[in-house]
Each structure stands twice: as structure tokens, then as C-alpha cells.
Symmetry: C2
Amino acid sequence: MARAAGVSQATVSYVLNDNPNARVSEQTRERVREAAARLGYVPDASARTLRTGRSGLVLVPLAPARTGRLFQDFLDRFGDELGRHGFTLVQYGERHLKGVPAAKSWAALRPAAVLVDVTRLTKAAVDLLTSSGTRVVIGLADKPSPLVPVVVLDHEAVGACAARHLLGGGRSRLGAVVPREEGIDLMGEARLRGVRQVAPGAERIDLAFSEEEAARVAARADLPEGIFAYNDEYAMLLISALQDAGVRVPDDVAVVGADDLPIATLMRPRLTSVHFDPTATPGELAALLEEIVRGEREAGPGAVVDLYRPRIVVRDSA
Amino acid sequence: MARAAGVSQATVSYVLNDNPNARVSEQTRERVREAAARLGYVPDASARTLRTGRSGLVLVPLAPARTGRLFQDFLDRFGDELGRHGFTLVQYGERHLKGVPAAKSWAALRPAAVLVDVTRLTKAAVDLLTSSGTRVVIGLADKPSPLVPVVVLDHEAVGACAARHLLGGGRSRLGAVVPREEGIDLMGEARLRGVRQVAPGAERIDLAFSEEEAARVAARADLPEGIFAYNDEYAMLLISALQDAGVRVPDDVAVVGADDLPIATLMRPRLTSVHFDPTATPGELAALLEEIVRGEREAGPGAVVDLYRPRIVVRDSA
DNA sequence: TTGTATGCGTTATCAT
DNA sequence: ATGATAACGCATACAA
């Protein structure tokens, strides 16, 4: 490319990167740009990565389909914002590439940052990443971590929020659904803990997403007076089963969902749900991340960014 | 790394890549592996990319949250399978990085393959990619393309499938919902075309996802006898509005959704929906892609892989 | 069976 | 104000 423009490689680099401490005449700049356009020249990201020791990739090793709509929306916009800062968000599910530990396949890409569930992080993994150029490893968790700074989605607060509303409505015997579904069961347990912070005796109701299971629960004689159903989908499942069993909602049993899905208002009774108000915008996070990667800012273990604040949206089901 | 193992770089490369035309003693192999483990050595993907001219990345430039659950599930498993073949699926939303054409930012990563909506492809973009090392550009479309091989999700077939069922049930005046929602409006129009293939006079019903809009439609005096509501969520919205307006479903108006979501069976009446049977598995596609990238197979414009076959699941709403 | 040498495209440093 | 050069880590042709 350089030879084609009649200038040196260095000059090309200066021009195309708008390098501020390079002094290049406007005439030369034009010649370089012309040649680049003519040749369809595109800078090679891998060469830059090799040279600088760090890629522009921000890794998010999560199974997209399993993270839920809320976090998926967040990632979507976060990726947009990162793009504006020159990064590329890379989302991919877990692999067991010939038994290679996940952290190694992450490190191979020399990512600028990694955002991953803390349950999948070990000290060794963090060390491997940081020693191979990654500037910051951010955990995804529901509480602070001694290992890394975290982005928090506080599931206990969600359960507590729902439970407070149910108690406030005069229901004293509570229950909380814990989905029997891989990938979200842990979140279910966290939300249950939150319910129990407010209503210590709350019952755990394990439930798979099937009408048979829901019918079995609905047929019980000793149903709690109020149930936090984990999310809106499980709430719909449960309400549907309760109605089929002749149990009145909310008269006999109050039900609260979470996520405040658009379809929540379409149910009859309309679904009372825990809504998530964003507290940190993707744009702010992207800007923060850029500062950290550029070394203008430190972020150690213990640091916390809260993503959402739960808020109850009262409709008819509770 | 090489010096630490007491061997040459070349030997390290041979051993770690299981290079078949290199003959290395088992003893040396062991020494290399031991040193790699001891040092926490991780090969640098960017160096490999620079050397070979092509990365292991498979780019899917789509806004994840907007592609729908079905395709998201597909991508999720496709990514897993690609991982087994040594590729990394990279999903990211559209950027407008300082006005740089999208194809340039794709080409910068020297991806092995790109899978993208054909509406975002031009001849120039395809040429740029192929000339910079990308082995195959695959379009995502609802019909064959003269530009690239495509993966098909035939929306017209979906509409036709729903319309056939409605006609077969004795409904002759049909309507089809076209969502007024960026990103899915084009799919809505394709599904409408499919309905009209079977029922030429079918009415187009534009609808935004809001209860007010749906109520307005439901209040009409001249409702069609059968409506294909685009998908299950719009079907739920519409049915809810119809019921509020005193219109009986399916007696007065039959409604068909699509996607066959788990919650479809929770509605009352239970939702009749177009289900998607996978015809090509992610595993097959990943294997196919690997063959193409390795040059063992050609894939030119016109080639088509059909992803799903639509099938009606009859319940109570139509 | 193993080592040596070369070059991929970029950027930092130093020379002109 | 611009050019020359080295080095990043890896894969590969070729020498030993």
C-alpha cells in the first residue's frame, strides 16, 4: 500500500490514523487517501494487535439466548457505544475447545477487556488475562467480588422488591418460584434469597416450564397467599394453571412477575411485575471502559457498577 | 516460549498445531507441552491471522436483540458448533464508525466468513471482503440472491402456511398484520405477500405494538374473518384487544400467530401458531462452512440453504 | 528429527 | 516534514 502511494509505511499509518503528533503536509495526506481509496485498502486489525499487544475486542463470553431479554438489550446498546469508542464487542457462548480452559481461548484474542459471569472466573484466569495484555476483567454478578470489579444485577433486590409489595398488600404467607431450568436456576435462587430477606418464612417452589408441572402446583391445597413467580413468563404459566384449577388471582393468590414484558399488560388479570430502571447507561459504561483501557483510570476489585434498580409496577394480579 | 522449552519456534508451532507433515518425536512434543503449561503460554491469534491472512472469526453483523428468538437460538448453537471447528462467531450490531462503510470495518478483521442480511450487501462490499481474504460471504434472506449464497428464512412461506390454514377453516376474508416496528417491518411485508399468494384479496393491517392501536383495530365494524397476526406476540396483543371489544375468538375472528412460543399455550383461547421446524442443523452448516473456508468446496451465488420449514400448530384460536 | 530464516502489516524510534 | 528500519509472534520453506 505504502509503495503504491509513493510514500513510506509510516506516513500511511500517520495519515490514516490521524495521529496527532505527526506532521504531514496536506498534499501528502491527499495522496495517501487517494491511493487507499483506489486500492480498496483496509488496515489490518491483526497487524495492529500484534504490534500493540492488544486488540480492540471486548469479549463477552455468554450464551446470548440464555441471558434474558433485559441483559441482551443492554449488550446490544453497549456494543453500539463501544463501537463509537473504537472497540468491537464480541459475544460468544462457552466452548470446550478440545478441553482447553475457556480463559486460554479468551486470552488468545488479546482482548482489551473481558466481561464475564464471576462464577466462571478464577484467580488463575484473571491472572492469565491480565498478564497477556487484557486491561480489565469485569465480572457480572449480583454482589461485589474480591477478585474483580463487577457489574451488578442484584437479583436479591428483585426478590425483596416483589416480597415487600406482597406483604404490603396484606399477604403474609409467601412463596417464590425457582425455575428448574439450566442457566437461570441460580438467578432464581438469588431472587428467593431476596424474598426471604423480607419474608423469612417464604416457601421455595421449584417449577419447570411446563403446564403439567404448573398444574401440579396449582392443585395444592395449601397455596401461599402471595407468590413471586421469578419472571413474567413463569408468572403467566402459573396464573394460567391457577385459573384452570379454579383458584382466583389475585383474590385467592396474588402473583408478581418480573421484567415487565409488553405482554404483561395483555394478561387477564393484568400482571403486576418488577420493572427494571436502568441506572448506568451503556454509553457511560463504554466511556468508563475506554478510560480504563487507555490507562487513564484504575479499576480494582471491589468496584461496583449497578445496572438496574428494581421497581414494582402494580397492575391487577397482586 | 520456544527458548524456554529448549527448542525452536518452528517445533513449537508444529507441536501445538498438530501439524501432520511435521515429524516430531514424542519426547520433544512432551517437552513443548510441559513448557507451554508451565509458562501459561497462549498462542497469539493476531500473529497467526497476520501470517495466514485470515482470522478464525465468523462475522455476523446483526443487532442481536432485533433478530428474534428463533434466529437467536440458531446463532447460539451455530456459535457452539463453529467453536468445535476452530472458529469464533462474532456477533455485533451495526456501527457508523466515523462514516466508514460497514464493510471496511468487517474487512479489517480479516474474517474467514461473513453472514449478513443481503439488504446490507452490495457488490462492492462483497468484492472488498473476498479480496481481503474472506473466503465466503453468506447472505441472510428470504429468497435466493444473485450476489451471494444465502441462508433462507422464507417469510412468504410462513404467511402462506397461515393463510392456507385459515382458508381451510372456512374463513375467506383474510387480513395480515404488518408490524409498524423498525427492523421487523420488512419481514411483516414478506409474510403479507405470502398470505396474498394464497388469498389474493387479503387486507393489510398495519399495527404498532400498543394496546391503543390494537383497540382501534378491534373496534372496526368490518373485521376480516381470519387474521394472521405476524407472530405470537402480536397475536396476543390483538386477541386481547378483540376480547376487550367483545369480539369472540375464534367464533367471530380467527387469529393465527407464529413462532409457537411456550406462552402460546397459556392464552385463552390457546393460540394457533406457525411453528418452525429446523431443516438444516447448526452443526451441518458449521461443517459446510469449514469445508468452504478450507477450500475443499465451492459456494457460489444462487446456492441456498433453507433454515426452517413452517408448519401450522392448531389450537383454539383458529 | 530439528533448527534457521523470512515475511505478514503495523507502529515506534531514529535518521534525514 | 518525511523516510528508513526494527520488532511484534507466528507459519512455513528449506537447510542441516
